[in-house]
């Protein structure tokens, strides 16, 4: 156990090192200079461009830039090129904004997909199974922002609820209850949208997992013993079908950053995805690199956690 932990930690550190090199190279070798982001601005005289390049070490060779950047990152001194604010502080602020969206979305995903998946597995090829399958494919195939616009039109015109941004402008002066309800309403659409894709995929996965377990001999035995169906499905089958999902707990972590760019852009939600998007637009390399690095750490931590969880939950698994 300890040796497994030690070896996989070393392996993950090596991977992380290569990820940092690759992301650095991708960004630095792309054509275009961050100092020339606004070439038509008359304030950007050659002297100023030169000064910018000096201040941000852009005149140094690549490997020196790499070392300087990661030294700054680990001492927490990396600053954004746009406003000179510490990158970590900026990301933390946006992270706190993304967090409610992420939590509500994840909760919705996990609470809805299991009942749906289990039910369609039990009533295989029934009308329920067929319709949820079709709906799932519908949700997987619809372009996210198209779906978002349909929902926004519905909610705004039928329910008269404002949904853009995190709260209605000026609502802070209203009573706490109104304020709270306003925040809640603004949370609903983006998190539902974030969850739909997840529900569609996860419920399909639950269904296939459950189907596989239901086909096993011990389930037939349990039924043959005369146990009632609920007991067979929810005590014998479900427990075993749940095993692979334990590992998925580790995999939700990276979702904090990844899939939220489009949704946060639609709803002008000042979260991590939006920060990443703005950083890309402004060629704010420290922010892009830091977000990339954090998400790589999250992915690696997620796989480690899921490996460990699997080992704890399933006694048959022995990771040498």
């Amino acid at each position: 156990m300890l040796s497994f932990l030690g070896r996989s930690l070393i392996q993950k550190l090596v991977t992380l090192f290569f990820v940092s090199v690759v992301s650095f190279l991708v960004i630095k070798l792309a054509p275009g200079q961050p100092s020339q982001i606004d070439p038509l601005n008359p304030k950007f005289t050659p002297e100023i461009v030169e000064r910018i390049r000096k201040v941000y070490h852009l005149d140094q060779p690549l490997h020196v830039q790499y070392l300087l950047y990661y030294k700054d990152l680990f001492t927490g001194k990396v600053v954004s090129w746009r406003d000179e604010r510490p990158v970590l502080g900026k990301i933390w602020e946006r992270f706190l904004n993304s967090l409610p969206l992420f939590i509500v979305g994840t909760l919705l995903t996990w609470t809805f997909s299991f009942p749906v998946g289990i039910r369609s597995a039990i009533h295989r090829d029934g009308w329920y199974d067929k319709s949820t399958t079709l709906i799932s494919y519908f949700l997987i195939s619809i372009p996210g922002f198209f779906f978002a616009y349909i929902l926004i039109i519905l909610v705004v015109t039928k329910l008269n609820v404002p949904v853009i941004d995190m709260q209605t402008f000026g609502v802070t002066s209203a009573s706490p209850l109104v304020h709270f309800m306003d925040r809640l309403w603004h949370l609903v659409l983006p998190s539902v949208l974030g969850a739909t894709g997840g529900i569609a995929v996860l419920s399909r996965y639950v269904r296939s997992q459950m189907l596989e377990i239901i086909g096993q001999d011990y389930v037939r035995t349990a039924k043959a013993k005369g146990l009632d169906e609920d007991r067979v499905y929810y005590r014998h089958a479900l427990r075993n079908a749940l095993l692979p999902f334990v590992t998925m707990f580790g995999m939700i972590l990276p979702g904090l950053i990844g899939g939220s760019v489009i949704i946060e852009s639609i709803f002008s939600w000042p979260g991590m995805g939006r920060l990443a998007y703005e950083a890309i637009l402004g060629r704010d390399y420290p922010v892009i690199l830091t977000i990339n690095f954090i998400s790589a750490v999250l992915v690696l931590a997620g796989t480690l956690v899921s490996d460990l969880l699997y080992m704890v939950v399933d006694p048959r698994i022995r990771l040498e």
Partner: protein
């Protein structure tokens, strides 16, 4: 003794009773596809879409296209679908050849139907080329990892190739002294291996023995490579690269292709690992066939079915990715119309001209849905467990 066929009256029932129905794998797949109604519908839409895209390319390209997607008619902007053009305000060459704006016009008075036709071709190209690239990389890396994975790479080889890659990168980044240094190192490495190849039985000098230390197996190297790629959130990576490289049709296809090969690599590797141990591969090896021939003629056809399924699903997701990039302003730039950029241009007129949003939105939905249903259906059909039951 078997009688010759000429003397025996051959009827259909005769065949059936004498031997089990023997169908070629293709005929069997086709039969199962016909039975799976949902997948078959997906297949029909898939084929229809293919022909529409071909027709779209024929009708909208060239110097004088039949339906001109770039024809601007500012006096006719935002006309609803099926509306007739106001003939007296149009020059003869501006009159839509169909006599009506089948899907309306956009904010510049361009015929949305013509743009959708052009977009069908562009979207199809984006999907197919991107998936083609990712499948090619996936098959190559997965095949190498699965078939040749047991071989070890020597430390010297690793250093040698790292130096070569570094030299190329540094030369591109125009830091010449460092590039020269790397080239020198790589040259020394080349000399070392050249001499080893010339005299394979001569023992390596004691000081250089660490160079031939087996550092990592080919398989482990490729699996690590996949791990590294999986650390990047894919949409964010695509967005970053496309934004930094300036969006163009070519860049988008290549970038989507280069960032989505991990899945294919993984299961091609898994397929190869299991197929490598089968008897027919041992037989082929006993016949003295070359590795390349065994990989491409003997193993690959057996591993191809799941690759094709995931390619179908990959085309669907590439089209969605392209639409998402268009929405964020990094899609295929204006001279080409794609469904993604028609959709994202339409969002500014969603209340005044909903057809600009709904026509491309619903089309993308239908086509992607068809690809997904067809792909998933094929996955079931090609599953041998299911085959026995039917």
């Amino acid at each position: 003794m078997m009688q010759p066929d000429t003397q025996r009256p051959q009827t259909v029932s005769d065949d059936v009773t004498l031997m089990p129905p023997s169908r070629s794998p293709w005929a069997e797949t086709w039969r199962l596809l016909r039975k799976n109604r949902v997948a078959f519908t997906g297949f029909i839409v898939f084929v229809l879409f293919f022909f529409i895209a071909l027709a779209g390319m024929a009708l909208t390209s060239g110097a004088h296209p039949v339906l001109d997607p770039a024809q601007v008619r500012l006096q006719e902007k935002l006309r609803p679908p099926l509306s007739a053009p106001k003939l007296d305000s149009l020059k003869p060459e501006e009159i839509p050849p169909l006599g009506r704006y089948v899907l309306g016009t956009d904010d510049l008075g361009r015929d949305v139907f013509a743009r959708m036709l052009q977009g069908a071709w562009v979207s199809l190209t984006v999907g197919f080329v991107a998936v083609g690239i990712s499948v090619a990389i996936g098959i190559l890396l997965g095949g190498i990892a699965g078939y040749l994975g047991r071989y070890y790479i020597q430390l010297g080889h690793l250093i040698y190739w790292t130096l070569v890659v570094c030299a190329i990168f540094l030369a591109l980044a125009q830091s010449l002294p460092a590039a020269l240094l790397c080239t020198l190192g790589a040259g020394a490495g080349w000399l070392f291996y050249y001499r080893r190849r010339r005299h394979p039985d001569r023992p390596v000098a004691k000081g250089l023995r660490w160079l031939i230390w087996p550092a990592i197996s080919v398989d482990a190297l490729i699996v690590r490579l996949v791990d590294i790629m999986l650390c990047f959130p894919s949409f964010f990576l695509i967005l970053t690269v496309v934004a930094l490289l300036k969006p163009s049709l070519f860049n988008i296809m290549v970038v989507i292709g280069l960032t989505s090969w991990e899945g294919t690599t993984r299961f091609v590797r898994a397929e190869f690992l299991s197929l490598r141990e089968q008897d027919f591969v041992a037989a082929a090896r006993a016949l003295g066939l070359s590795d390349l021939r065994i990989i491409f003629r003997h193993i690959m056809p057996n591993a191809l079915a799941p690759v094709l399924v995931s390619a179908t699903l990959g085309i669907a997701s590439a089209m969605l990715t392209e639409a998402g990039l268009s929405f964020l302003g990094f899609g295929v730039p204006p001279p080409h119309a794609t469904w993604g950029n028609i959709l994202s241009d339409g969002k500014d007129y969603i209340f005044d001209a909903p057809w600009l949003t709904f026509a491309p939105g619903i089309t993308i939905l239908v086509v992607v849905l068809a690809f997904n249903l067809f792909g998933e259906g094929m996955r079931d059909i090609l599953n041998p467990k299911l085959r026995e039951r039917n």
